[in-house]
């Protein structure tokens, strides 16, 4: 049987487990013998939804350094029209 503590550790350090947890946190914990209260289940679902927004921004970061700095500094990324010069990649 798993424990809350081991869940914390694996979510932090094991990307494969983290992905499974993000897709279905409640079932993942239940399979490990951890039964949640209704309140905990609701809060956990809310937390995972919040995290997915963070992760989406993280996944966008390799596209741009400016966006990356915005993310780190907590600013919104900027959309502008303009001429960057040829961009043939």
């Amino acid at each position: 049987m798993g424990s809350i503590r081991s869940t914390f550790v694996r979510v932090n350090s094991d990307p494969t487990y983290r992905a499974r947890f993000l897709k279905d946190p409640i079932s993942t914990l239940e399979k490990e013998g951890i039964k949640l209260t209704t309140k905990e289940g609701e809060d956990l679902t809310k937390l995972v939804r919040t995290l997915e927004k963070h992760l989406t921004k993280l996944g966008e970061l390799p596209r741009g350094y400016d966006a990356l700095i915005d993310e780190v500094e907590g600013k919104r990324s900027v959309r502008e029209s303009g001429d960057p010069g040829p961009l043939i990649i």
Partner: protein, 346 residues
């Protein structure tokens, strides 16, 4: 907006190329113009379009068509017209290669793309001939580029490539980046021939080979989300790496990939591999002296290293937030809460 001098020094050459491409598009039959504009304005952004798009980072590399100008400078090509023509031929080659790649990705017959491929390819060969008229002597280079393209298309249809165990290795990336050599080698070699320095072609080839392998990782990092939707994940080095690490043969999904962007090991492996190829490319160009070819790579190595560090920092903050969020769920009283959760509760 153009940032570094390695780009801004050639702004007049760029405008000249843009006028030529716009004129080419204008010379096409009206039915082909929208598709031609898609490739020259939307897809490759050679000609200024009316679309608003995300401003690219000033530090992000833009090797095409500048590679032609940098090679011209490094090899001592003083003729402005030839320099511009070599850049133009690189642009023609890029457009034709992009269309050809799209055709091979979608086997259904598309006569518009096929006609445009023939149009740009003809322009490409005509321009290449203007840079170096003696095409017989140049045959070895064009044959070599053709062979690279054939090997690239063969690799795309070889099922074993999708199961490669080390997608950040030269063994894998050499195959996935061959299109770049096929596209850029003839225009750059034509410059070496034009100035009587054809002995530099192997050095240019090595530079391109090493650079394009690093560039492919960068490209795969940029396009990972789009590649998820393509058959065999578009053979993206990034997605194959993630799939291998997850230990299964199924394609990865969006959450899998996002979870791996939180992994320090993944970020370090991807960016370190990229920068190591750039270092090798730099070594290849060093004997040509202190040129824009090496300056470009110095800039890119700094840029990508900064990106890697910032990504690691951002991932660390996200993991920390998640950890605290989990503690909040299970032990709400003793821990601080995520700012976004705090807002949603207010």
């Amino acid at each position: 907006m153009q940032g570094s001098r390695i780009y801004s020094d050639f702004s007049e050459d760029i405008e000249w190329i843009r006028r030529r491409i716009a004129s080419d598009v204008g010379s096409l039959p009206p039915a082909l113009v929208p598709l031609a504009e898609y490739y020259t304005k939307g897809r490759l952004k050679v000609v200024k379009g009316s679309w608003a798009f995300r401003v690219p980072d000033k530090r992000m590399g833009r090797p095409i068509p500048y590679l032609a100008f940098w090679v011209a400078g490094a090899l001592g090509l003083a003729d402005e017209r030839l320099r511009r023509l070599s850049g133009l031929s690189l642009v023609y080659s890029s457009i034709a290669t992009t269309i050809r790649d799209d055709i091979s990705d979608s086997p259904a017959h598309n006569s518009g793309k096929a006609r445009l491929d023939r149009f740009w390819s003809r322009r490409y060969l005509e321009t290449l001939k203007e840079v170096f008229p003696d095409q017989r002597g140049f045959k070895l280079v064009t044959s070599s580029a053709d062979a690279e393209w054939r090997r690239y298309t063969q690799w795309q249809s070889n099922p074993s490539a999708f199961g490669h165990p080390r997608p950040f290795s030269a063994d894998f990336l050499r195959e996935s980046s061959r299109y770049y050599i096929a596209c850029a080698l003839p225009p750059l070699s034509a410059i070496a021939y034009a100035v009587g320095r054809k002995e530099e072609v192997p050095r240019i080839t090595r530079y391109l080979r090493e650079f394009s392998m690093g560039w492919k990782i960068f490209d795969d990092l940029m396009d990972w989300e789009r590649d998820l939707a393509v058959e065999e994940m578009n053979r993206s080095s990034v997605l194959i790496y993630i799939r291998n690490q997850m230990g299964h043969s199924e394609p990865v999904d969006r959450i899998d990939a996002l979870s791996w962007f939180l992994s320090d090991q993944f970020v370090r492996n991807a960016y370190c591999a990229m920068v190591s190829f750039y270092l090798k490319a730099r070594s290849a160009a060093e004997p040509l002296g202190d040129s824009y070819l090496t300056k470009f790579l110095d800039e890119q190595m700094r840029f990508q290293t900064d990106k890697r560090n910032a990504l690691l920092m951002s991932a660390s903050l996200t993991r920390s937030d998640f950890d605290e969020g989990l503690r909040l769920v299970f032990r709400p009283v003793r821990r601080r809460i995520l700012p976004s959760m705090r807002m949603s509760r207010q």
